[in-house]
């Protein structure tokens, strides 16, 4: 008995040692920057006036959270996130179903469908910009000649969402396709025998069985979408109040050289993203199928 405990102890010690290098790397590249930006966010620290650096507590947070620009950016970010993720979910599901059901040229179709995701975001964003530009834009000419859609808030936001959706639908579809593979063929056959039509099979059998995969896909995409930066940077640079929170952070931290306010904004984004993740994991954990444990 004692020998077993000794063996177990040694095994556990070995396990810790084997984890140590990875843990160290994680601390160096993740924990340290996070802690350091929290530390910076508690200081007045502007590189233009380095002499004025001092510890100010939560003053930066009060400044940011009472600022209407911040809240406008926050609203824009939330709007883009919600709309683009919803559209991506619907289109991604449709694409996943098509790819799942395709019998001929399966590999080719899947590869072609993934091309937008393979293109660097900035490159894709530039081609969207040319397409909608008021001089060169062939799409702008097509829909609204003489207009400059990228210079108006509503249309600019629409184009940002479009670029975002175009790029990430394949990713969504890929994640959802993994979920589709989890739905046993027999289950759908059983549902047809039980009297379910195609729509009922989809909503009453497929979707509930795929729920974990859908939630994971939504979690990934929401976290990603909330941090949107490159599309906006290329398309509008945040003009006409189209900037996201990440744009604001960039403007303050890199262009404004205000390390204190910039860090405060990154910490706030971090908190928002953590909150989204927490929400999803909570819902996700409570809704895993086959998990019956005392929730009724």
């Amino acid at each position: 008995m004692k020998a077993i405990t000794e063996g177990k102890k040694a095994e556990r010690r070995l396990g810790l040692w084997l984890c140590a290098p990875a843990a160290l790397v994680m601390v160096a590249v993740t924990a340290y920057p996070i802690i350091y930006s929290v530390w910076l966010s508690l200081q007045r620290y502007d590189l233009r006036f380095p002499a004025e650096r001092e510890f100010v507590g939560l003053e930066n947070y009060v400044t940011v959270l009472t600022n209407s620009y911040w809240w406008s950016a926050f609203g824009v970010t939330t709007l883009i996130t919600v709309i683009s993720v919803v559209i991506e979910l619907v289109l991604g599901m449709a694409l996943a179903l098509v790819m799942h059901r395709t019998l001929v040229a399966r590999g080719l179709i899947r590869t072609v469908a993934l091309i937008p995701y393979g293109i660097v975001t900035v490159v894709a964003a530039f081609s969207w910009r040319y397409a909608w530009d008021d001089n060169t834009g062939y799409l702008a000419q097509l829909f609204a000649p003489d207009a400059a859609p990228l210079t108006q808030r509503a249309s600019a936001l629409g184009i940002i969402v479009l670029a975002e959706v175009w790029k990430t639908v394949p990713f969504m579809a890929l994640l959802l396709m993994a979920g589709l593979a989890l739905v046993p063929e027999d289950l759908l056959k059983a549902a047809s025998m039980d009297g379910a039509g195609p729509w009922q099979r989809f909503t009453k059998v497929m979707l509930p069985v795929m729920k974990p995969a859908i939630l994971v896909a939504l979690l990934f995409r929401t976290l990603d979408a909330f941090r949107i930066f490159d599309n906006i940077f290329v398309l509008t640079s945040g003009a006409q109040q189209t900037g996201s929170v990440s744009m604001q952070t960039y403007n303050n931290l890199i262009r404004g050289l205000n390390l204190g306010i910039g860090s405060t904004m990154s910490v706030l984004i971090f908190i928002a993203v953590a909150a989204i993740a927490f929400l999803f994991v909570k819902v996700f954990g409570a809704a895993a199928p086959g998990n019956d444990g005392g929730k009724r």
Binding site: A190, D194, V209, P289
Partner: protein, 393 residues
């Protein structure tokens, strides 16, 4: 309740492969019919065509006299039990069983009553609020049955419903399925690859092979009067022994020695225009340890002496395996049977014979034994096309 008629039903896949060819079966109202055969014989495809899960390429399927080829599964009013049970993992047992009723817009009270009734019949009462993931295999199987019976459909289709259970539970569930079917009196089509299940459950059994119906009949008829080598070898456990033989001068020359033809067999063989070279089929249970028989009985049959190769004592009987000198019976039919049923009885050293002896037999491995058999029980087959030569009209 319904009569189901398959009229020259054929399934051909787009790549040209013929899965089921010209199947003619008339299933009477309330009948329990079994489709049996080795894997790939077309039995599941046939079942899926009745269900509507596969299109029918040719022929007609009628339920209660109405052509249903073009009807969707949900409009055929038949329920199906799957080998995997196909229970909805996100629904409780109650919701699983209520699902078909909910889709049919049955009112809540009726749904509750029907589900409770089915649960009582299947002894699932205390599990109604559990999820399938927390049930044992046998319980899941019963939920699948429950989902089928709540609807009171015209027919049940069962696709190897007991294959995923362990041996003991399978035997238990077999009797419950038979009892349930008798109680409800619903037309049932049951697919299995297990000939024991086929023999014990069905009113009639359809033996299929390579997409073709080989024989349709009661279990006893299939056992007593197999129409060809395939059915003869497939029905019965252990399988029938096959030996090559020559018909000459009113007797059969076999590796077991000369066997006189009884009048009955001679007449049947003549009527069938038997060739000279034939295959003799002998069921293991038609052998006996000669020591255990009195003289008159011994004189009625044929006795040969051979060395017991392997002896399996079952308690109730003893299975004795012998190697016999001579050629192994060869026929294209037998080869496919061996390949399809995965039997490995093909030995190089001559044919092997399985006999089922009384438990009282003193046989033991390695010793010689006098073995008796009744020549009137033997079957003769044409090695060319495998048809029986001893068919009683």
């Amino acid at each position: 309740m319904a009569e189901i008629v398959l009229d020259k039903v054929t399934k051909r896949y787009p790549d040209g492969a013929l899965a089921v060819s010209d199947v003619d079966i008339t299933i009477a109202d309330g009948e329990f019919i079994i489709l049996v055969g080795p894997s790939g014989c077309g039995k599941s495809t046939t079942l899926n065509m009745i269900a509507g899960l596969e299109d029918i390429t040719d022929g007609e399927l009628r339920i209660d006299g109405q052509r249903v080829n073009e009807r969707a599964p949900k409009d055929r009013d038949i329920a199906m039990v799957f080998q995997s049970y196909a229970l909805y993992p996100h629904m409780s047992v109650r919701e699983n069983m209520a699902f078909p009723l909910r889709l049919a817009h049955v009112d809540k009270e009726t749904i509750n009553r029907k589900v409770e009734d089915a649960a009582r019949i299947l002894d699932l009462g205390q599990h109604l609020d559990r999820k399938p993931g927390n049930l044992s295999g046998g319980q899941r199987q019963r939920v699948a049955m429950g989902r089928a019976i709540v609807r009171d459909p015209k027919a049940f289709l069962m696709d190897e419903p007991l294959s995923n259970l362990d041996a003991k539970l399978r035997v238990q569930m077999r009797t419950s399925v038979a009892k349930l079917q008798r109680r409800l009196g619903t037309t049932t089509v049951y697919v299995t690859h297990d000939q024991t299940e086929a023999m014990t459950l069905g009113d009639r059994v359809v033996v299929m092979r390579g997409g073709l119906v080989q024989q349709i009949g009661s279990p006893q008829a299939l056992y007593d009067q197999p129409v060809n080598l395939f059915v003869a070898g497939f029905i019965g456990s252990p399988s029938m022994n096959f030996l090559p033989a020559t018909l000459a001068d009113g007797q059969l020359n076999t590796p077991l020695g000369a066997v006189p033809l009884t009048d009955r067999i001679r007449r049947l063989a003549e009527a069938a225009k038997a060739p000279r070279e034939v295959i003799v089929g002998l069921r293991p249970e038609h052998f006996e340890d000669a020591e255990l028989l009195d003289d008159t009985e011994r004189a009625r049959g044929v006795t040969f002496t051979a060395t017991v190769e392997v002896l399996e004592s079952m308690g109730s009987d003893k299975f004795a395996y012998f190697l016999v000198e001579g050629e192994t019976a060869t026929s294209a039919e037998l080869d496919t049977l061996a390949a399809e049923t995965g039997s490995t009885e093909m030995t190089d050293s001559g044919p092997q014979i399985v006999t089922r002896l009384s438990a009282a037999s003193a046989a033991h491995e390695g010793a010689e034994l006098d073995v008796w058999f009744d020549p009137d029980k033997l079957h003769l087959f044409d090695p060319g096309d495998g048809r029986t030569l001893t068919h009683v009209k």
